[in-house]
């Protein structure tokens, strides 16, 4: 599903260069649930942004679902993001003047799906995350956990190949974090490929594979015995 070879990325910080990714080789198969770990500054978020076509690598190759992601213009990039990827962010990134249902329906709008069909589909995904009753609430009327559920429903709505989550539990308390992880595990159980960036070991333990980054290189990549979140809840 994801194949990257010798990925390099550096940022200009004033006059000096900051080499963030120093040659990453990494592949993810369909249906995997991968945690990308590392301390802050290790390059894990940069890697996720590149995987999410939100940012571009300086060198190296990246293939997503057998499509080369290289030198895309913004229009094509946005099309690929819409078609292949679903995003979940630490700060939820819901549009605050739209209610839960509208937020979930948004990626479908950019897929060109008609209004009625769009809302029907969005409602199905809200039901899936258990928030059908809150469909007409604004983000400001939802708790953190509920907001993240809406964000997950939104990420799933476009039926992406890969779900990318950047610290999805970073702004949540432990109990809510586990509820979110339970939801993510459920999604993975249905066969969806999921990548999670996290620095919390208990969250990583709930994934099937842990990749550890340090100073821009992968220092550890191992399959783990998955801890089911439901046992904690």
């Amino acid at each position: 599903m994801i194949e990257i070879k010798d990925l390099q990325k550096s940022y200009k910080m004033g006059s000096s260069q900051l080499h963030v990714l120093k040659g990453i080789n990494f592949s993810v198969g369909e249906g995997e649930l991968v945690a990308i770990m590392g301390s802050s500054g290790s390059g894990k978020s940069t890697l996720l942004n590149i995987l999410g076509i939100l940012d571009e690598a300086d060198s190296g190759s990246y293939r997503l679902d057998n499509v080369a992601i290289k030198n895309l213009n913004e229009t094509v990039a946005s099309k690929y993001r819409n078609k292949f990827l679903g995003f979940v962010f630490q700060s939820f990134n819901l549009i605050n003047y739209k209610n839960a249902l509208d937020n979930v329906a948004m990626p479908l709008y950019y897929q060109g799906i008609k209004r009625t069909a769009r809302y029907e589909l969005a409602m199905q995904y809200l039901e899936k995350v258990g928030l059908a009753s809150h469909a007409h609430h604004l983000p400001s009327e939802l708790s953190g956990g509920q907001k993240q559920r809406v964000a997950i429903a939104r990420a799933l709505a476009s039926n992406p190949k890969v779900l990318l989550a950047d610290e999805p539990t970073g702004a949540l308390d432990t109990k809510t974090s586990y509820e979110i992880m339970e939801l993510i595990q459920g999604i993975n159980d249905e066969g969806k490929t999921v990548l999670i960036v996290t620095h919390e070991p208990d969250i990583a333990a709930m994934c099937k594979r842990n990749v550890v980054l340090k100073d821009g290189v992968i220092i550890d990549d191992k399959l783990v015995e998955q801890v089911r979140a439901v046992t904690h809840v």
Partner: protein
């Protein structure tokens, strides 16, 4: 451009961001409102001044006689000059081809006019049929003196509106007999004069009747001429100055006056004043255009500012939309579509409000220098579209930049 899904998306954004919409709308509407009011006031001032100078604008050449101040051909200074019919006839004979309107007049300052029990002292003046146009008088009832009246020395009179109100109150004076210094005259018309009340307290009678009935013989006091219309102002002025010079020379030589004696024969050429009138009008127009253009610029800057703030405020939303798969073109389209929609609606509201105000308040303004303020609807529409276009252009650049920035940068924006 007609994409129902896009419209729904925009209406949603508008209805959920009422304050933002309201503020944008207010600034656009007030900009248009002020601009149209200014243009209307400018037009009103222009109309008022035009009316004030209406008489002069026609370009009348007036000739009167006085006393000589220079010795000439053995004649002493201090001699009183009196025009006669022959002076007038000679001028018409010589310059007739170039003249448009012409009239000789004979003026008396005080005459007792009586109708029934009402009476008063009024100025009375003998004039020809053309004099109506020279005085720029408008007939309210009846007619002016005609060529027939002059030829047959008819005892008919035309009175001013003020005089009619004094003597006749609400009755129609047409056909009524009044006495002027004990001679009966039949009233054939009532006129109003842009010169105001002073000029409306006069009675005009045929010049020939005046001379005969009041013992003036062949005396005339002031001669009036207007020249045939010319292509442009400069040509008209040149022609008028030539006429003025030749006429003066002719009358001076006929009456044995020194060629440079301006007080024996005075000529007033109001074509020269018309120049000032045209200039004044031009300056007023230029001033209000300048104010208007400044207002448009202020409006454009205001709208641009709002657009910049809107785009800034929506940077994060733009990042989210891009992460969810919005292509840059749809981001630009969304922002421009919304801004054009709001500025157009708000602009129309401002336009209608200002036109309504001009329509309602305009006729109630009573001032000598302000009349009938109005705005050409086409001009108003043009300014509106200019503002909408400028707003769209001003919105385009920040929208384009926002659509170009990487989603992660936009997402980081708090």
């Amino acid at each position: 451009m007609f994409n129902i899904e896009r419209w729904q998306e925009i209406f949603e954004a508008i209805s959920k961001n009422k304050l933002r919409t309201f503020l944008t709308g207010i600034s656009v509407a007030s900009g248009i409102f002020i601009l149209v009011i200014l243009l209307g006031v400018g037009q009103g001032l222009q109309n008022g001044i035009e009316k004030q100078f209406e008489r002069d604008a026609a370009g009348i050449i007036e000739v009167w006689s006085g006393t000589t101040t220079k010795e000439y051909k053995g004649l002493n200074p201090g001699r009183q000059i009196q025009f006669r019919n022959s002076d007038y006839e000679l001028s018409v004979q010589k310059f007739g081809d170039g003249l448009d309107k012409k009239s000789a007049t004979y003026n008396q300052w005080q005459g007792l006019v009586t109708y029934g029990k009402e009476s008063g002292n009024y100025q009375y003046r003998g004039a020809d049929a053309d004099y109506q146009f020279i005085e720029n008088a408008t007939m309210i009832e009846g007619r002016w003196i005609n060529a027939n009246d002059v030829a047959n020395t008819e005892k008919v009179g035309v009175i001013g509106l003020k005089m009619k109100q004094d003597l006749f109150k609400d009755k129609s004076p047409i056909g009524a007999e009044v006495t002027l210094n004990n001679i009966n005259f039949k009233i054939v018309g009532v006129f109003s004069d842009p010169g105001g009340e002073r000029e409306e307290t006069r009675i005009y009678i045929p010049l020939t009747t005046m001379q005969k009935a009041f013992g003036a013989g062949d005396k005339v006091s002031v001669l009036f001429y207007t020249l045939k219309k010319k292509e442009n102002y400069d040509q008209a002025l040149a022609e008028a100055e030539k006429f003025e010079k030749e006429l003066g020379a002719m009358l001076r030589s006929k009456n044995t006056i020194a060629p440079d004696d301006d007080s024996a024969i005075g000529v007033h050429n109001s074509v020269r004043d018309a120049k000032q009138f045209y200039d004044l009008n031009l300056y007023i127009r230029l001033f209000f255009w300048w104010v208007g253009i400044c207002t448009i610029i202020a409006g454009v800057v205001g709208v641009s500012n709002i657009m910049l703030i809107i785009v800034k405020e929506r940077t994060k939303e733009i990042g989210i939309r891009k992460a969810l798969g919005a292509p840059p073109i749809s981001i630009i389209g969304m922002i421009l579509h919304e801004s054009i929609f709001i500025t157009t609606i708000a602009g129309f509201v401002g336009l209608l409000m200002s036109l309504l105000l001009l329509e309602l308040a305009g006729p109630n303004i009573d001032s000598d220098f302000f009349l009938n303020p109005s705005v050409d609807f086409g001009t108003a529409l043009t300014t509106l579209f200019l503002l909408v276009f400028a707003g769209a252009l001003a919105g385009f650049f920040p929208a384009y930049r926002a659509a170009k920035i990487k989603p992660i940068v936009a997402l980081r924006d708090e």
